[in-house]
């Protein structure tokens, strides 16, 4: 217990950073809206409207502060929630503690009482996207059209089928099937509004995607998800490596040519000349 104590304190201080005395509205916007709405229907996680009436507060606080522990304890409600989220386990919200969990629940209670909560989520059109939407999404993905708030374009870390050339990045996951993974338009849009993974959250925290950028990107991903099969990422990496290897061989040859009069040609000739002198001269 002592060990957990002395590790947990600096971790909470340094990693959670600004979460202390944090405004629950700002906290919810930054950490929860990628999976939850209040009155906007289910995303990856359940709609939280009136959640304080559905469950006991003590249980909710316990779950919010450590979802995995509650699930692992075999709690039937937690297991049911996990099933409904297709096995996705809610991560421990960064910097969470009992006070913050209670503040969040108070805020959710207030928001639930409103006719329309600010966390209702984006209104996503149900009509089919147009070819222009998809094309603009592709331009945003590739960075041809820069993101308005200065965020990096997707292609630096992600790829999808049909990009051509040497394809997209592979630091992050392949996004060809992300539309299915995040369960459609609503879930995908919510995720892009407030990305849930540490790297994405950090990168986009101060330069979020705008709503008019999210929609075309959703259109692009929806279109990619229809692609027949996922091409393996192998060939692009291999081709890239081969091009690099070829390039370095060319540079090595260049080095040899540039320094053709290097030390070797001076000294070795002298040594050879001297050797000849010794052989023939004596």
């Amino acid at each position: 217990m002592r060990r957990t104590g002395w590790t947990a304190l600096p971790v909470a201080l340094l990693i959670a950073g600004a979460s202390f005395a944090q405004d629950p509205v700002a906290y919810f916007r930054q950490n929860c809206v990628s999976c939850h709405t209040i009155g906007g229907g289910r995303l990856t996680g359940p709609d939280l409207k009136n959640v304080t009436q559905r469950r006991e507060r003590a249980w909710l606080v316990r779950f919010i502060t450590n979802p995995k522990a509650v699930i692992n304890s075999g709690d039937p409600t937690a297991l049911k929630l996990k099933d409904e989220a297709r096995g996705v386990v809610m991560p421990i919200p960064p910097g969470i503690n009992r006070e913050l969990a209670n503040a969040l629940l108070d805020m959710i209670e207030k928001e639930s009482a409103l006719e329309e909560s600010q966390f209702k989520g984006m209104t996503i059109p149900t009509a089919p996207f147009t070819a222009q939407d998809i094309e603009r999404g592709r331009a945003l993905f590739l960075g041809r059209e820069p993101l308005a708030n200065g965020g990096p374009s997707c292609v630096g870390c992600h790829t999808t089928v049909g990009l051509g050339g040497l394809a997209g990045g592979k630091l992050g996951p392949d996004l060809t099937r992300v539309f299915e993974r995040l369960q459609g338009r609503q879930g995908l849009a919510a995720w892009m509004q407030a990305p849930a993974t540490p790297t994405m959250r950090s990168v986009f925290r101060n330069q979020p995607l705008q709503q008019d950028e999210i929609l075309p990107l959703v259109a692009y991903f929806e279109d990619r998800a229809k692609a027949p099969a996922v091409t393996p990422a192998g060939p692009a990496s291999f081709n890239f490596f081969l091009i690099g290897l070829l390039g370095s061989v060319v540079v090595l040859v260049l080095f040899d040519i540039i320094w053709k009069r290097r030390l070797r040609s001076v000294r070795r000739r002298q040594v050879m000349d001297a050797a000849k002198e010794v052989l023939h001269g004596d």
Partner: protein, 240 residues
């Protein structure tokens, strides 16, 4: 993420960088003030110069170009991301970076093999040199591996690594940028800090007093007037 994983990340990405930088500055200055004549690459070119060329030249040009790329991404992330907006430009930049990364790797492997196979060179190799070779090898192989398997680094370095490094500079470390990255990227970052921390204890100090004109001056000719029999007639080192 568990507490333990977060704790390890804190040690590796907050404590280690500051310890490394402090060691780097303090020991470099101390060594320069106290033992300035040890500031040297301790060249072994005189003992063996054929394989030396195929190690030294590709390694130095490779590593210098790649390091310059890292510095540019650190100083001008926004401009770099704008440059990468056009896929062709991104691909050309990344391929160039890979070419020079591979040159550094080829050069380094050649230098390590030379140290192992040349008896004359092995004699003048210290244990710290071997430590340095291992660290450099890990660094360069991880770098090339990242370039190939986790593209496109020029973009994601600017997006995620640059803010992390600046958070260290500003004394407000934010490891969320790096905590979710893959093992190889983390290894590359951690090993880089280890190298910086160890730099003043190794022959790498020569980078701090690098005679930059060496990069473009004409080759230097060192003449030995030695009779093949071994008798030293006259030895003279030329300027050039």
């Amino acid at each position: 993420m568990t507490d333990t994983a977060q704790f390890i990340d804190m040690i590796l990405f907050i404590v280690l960088p500051y310890v490394a930088m402090a060691t780097f500055f303090l020991v470099s200055i101390y060594r320069y003030l106290g033992r300035a004549f040890t500031y040297s690459s301790v060249s072994s070119q005189l003992l063996e110069n054929k394989q030396h060329f195929w190690g030294l030249v590709p390694f130095h040009y490779g590593i210098l170009v790649v390091l310059a790329g890292h510095v540019i991404a650190f100083l001008f992330p926004r401009e770099l991301l704008l440059f990468n907006r056009v896929s062709l430009r991104l691909y050309i930049l990344e391929t160039t970076a890979l070419v020079f990364g591979l040159l550094a790797l080829i050069g380094l492997v050649s230098l390590i093999l030379r140290r192992i196979t040349e008896p004359k060179i092995r004699v003048v190799t210290t244990p710290m040199d071997w430590v340095l070779f291992v660290l450099l090898f890990v660094q360069v192989i991880a770098g090339v591996g990242i370039a190939v398997f986790y593209p496109w680094g020029s973009s994601w370095f600017a997006a995620a690594m640059t803010p992390y490094l600046w958070s260290l500079v500003k004394l407000q470390p934010d490891i969320q940028f790096v905590s979710g990255l893959s093992f190889w990227v983390k290894l590359h970052v951690v090993n880089a800090f280890v190298l910086i921390g160890l730099l003043p204890f190794t022959r790498l100090v020569h980078v701090l007093v690098a005679p930059n004109p060496y990069l473009w001056r004409r080759p230097q000719v060192v003449r030995w007037y030695r009779k093949p029999g071994g008798e030293l007639a006259e030895s003279k080192t030329g300027r050039s």
